[in-house]
């Protein structure tokens, strides 16, 4: 069992979350991954995503067991009800009621899904798959291999080709703009590569099921993204450069801010910290955050 971080603090197992943090802002990566600060209250978006994925996973398992759509849907709704029991938030978009609705409507929308979940030889459906593989041609300066890791929602067959399936929820509008964000993308090419390397499946691309969660209802859109072998090579080269950049900053013992990224996606959680004088930042960090370091190797699945 390997640890994602060495004793000297260097991260050797990288998932897309860690990569995107370093890609975006070295200081953000430092605060989240090196020190381990995290928000005291988990964001409703994060909890909604966890509950949503788990409910869909339950549905996929039930379907793989041969249950009807209605029976599998009942299992999924029950799963979401149990998991989210006691969850209270004042978020108008992502809350317990919209969760149950978004799960139910999504599974009904794709009840006649042309994508068939791959079933492994042991009878288990290929859903919520945690993967880890040695990154090709990528080692630390002292010769230790780096690993890439993550979680795939589902592997399925569509028109005789295997695809990685990923579910995304958003309160933003779907359509061309929503789907355009997945190519280029920091995460999905990694899943495409992992499907090929870890599960020995010649993955054709990634199918994204987007759910727009509104106050009055939920909308859905399915899109497919193909990454050519050259695009995947380019992605891997970028990953290697980012990981090596992390090694460089660690050696330098300095993690620069990227002030151009502070206002992305409604604002970085650390924007209110970085805007303070360095002398007092620790006091503010302790007031608003807690230490719970991100572990990219935490296994999901098998509900």
């Amino acid at each position: 069992m390997i640890s994602a971080y060495r004793e000297d603090g260097l991260q050797i197992a990288w998932d897309s979350t860690s990569l995107s943090r370093l890609w975006e802002c070295a200081r953000k990566y430092y605060l989240y991954n090196k020190i381990g600060w995290t928000s005291q209250d988990p964001s409703p978006h994060l909890l909604f995503g966890i509950f949503y994925h788990k409910a869909c996973e339950r549905y996929d398992h039930s379907k793989a067991q041969g249950k009807s759509h209605d029976d599998a849907l009942r299992d999924a709704i029950r799963q979401a009800l149990v998991d989210s029991w006691g969850w209270s938030t004042d978020n108008k978009y992502k809350n317990r009621s919209t969760l149950i609705r978004t799960v139910g409507w999504y599974l009904d929308t794709f009840s006649d899904d042309p994508v068939r979940t791959i079933i492994f030889s042991d009878g288990q459906p290929a859903v919520e798959l945690s993967f880890r593989f040695e990154a090709p041609d990528l080692k630390t300066n002292d010769g230790q291999p780096y690993f890439l890791c993550g979680h795939i929602d589902r592997l399925g067959v569509f028109q005789d080709h295997p695809w990685v399936l990923d579910r995304k929820t958003t309160k933003s509008a779907l359509g061309d703009m929503f789907m355009a964000q997945f190519n280029p993308h920091h995460q999905l090419p990694l899943y495409n590569i992992a499907g090929k390397i870890v599960y020995h499946t010649p993955v054709k691309g990634v199918i994204i099921d987007g759910a727009q969660v509104l106050i009055e209802g939920s909308r859905y859109q399915r899109a497919m993204v193909n990454y050519t072998p050259r695009m995947l090579d380019e992605y891997m080269n970028s990953v290697k450069a980012v990981v090596k950049m992390g090694e460089y900053y660690a050696k330098l013992d300095y993690w620069p801010m990227n002030p151009t990224a502070c206002h992305h996606y409604g604002g970085c959680p650390f924007r209110g910290i970085c805007s303070k004088d360095p002398e007092v930042r620790d006091v503010f960090l302790r007031g608003k955050f807690k230490i719970d370091r991100w572990d990219p190797l935490k296994v999901r699945g098998d509900i």
Partner: protein, 71 residues
């Protein structure tokens, strides 16, 4: 989504079923919840198919001359 506070008293309402301990819900209760979700989904989809008010006005603003319709 059902938001009528009077519906709280109805043991088959969405709000009531959501407020119940999920471990105590029977299969029939969950099926009832699914039934409500499907009803709300159908209403939502029907509304989505209706032209928006702006689109309706745009259509009404086109004169017969512009449409080049000969009566």
């Amino acid at each position: 989504m059902t938001t009528n506070p009077l519906a709280e008293a109805d043991p088959k309402s969405f709000n009531h079923l959501m407020s119940e301990d999920p471990l105590k819900l029977t299969d029939e209760d969950v099926d009832e919840l699914v039934k409500i979700l499907r009803r709300d989904h159908a209403i939502f989809l029907k509304k989505e198919k209706q032209p928006k008010a702006k689109e309706r006005i745009a259509v009404a603003d086109i004169s017969l001359d512009e449409l080049d319709i000969k009566l």
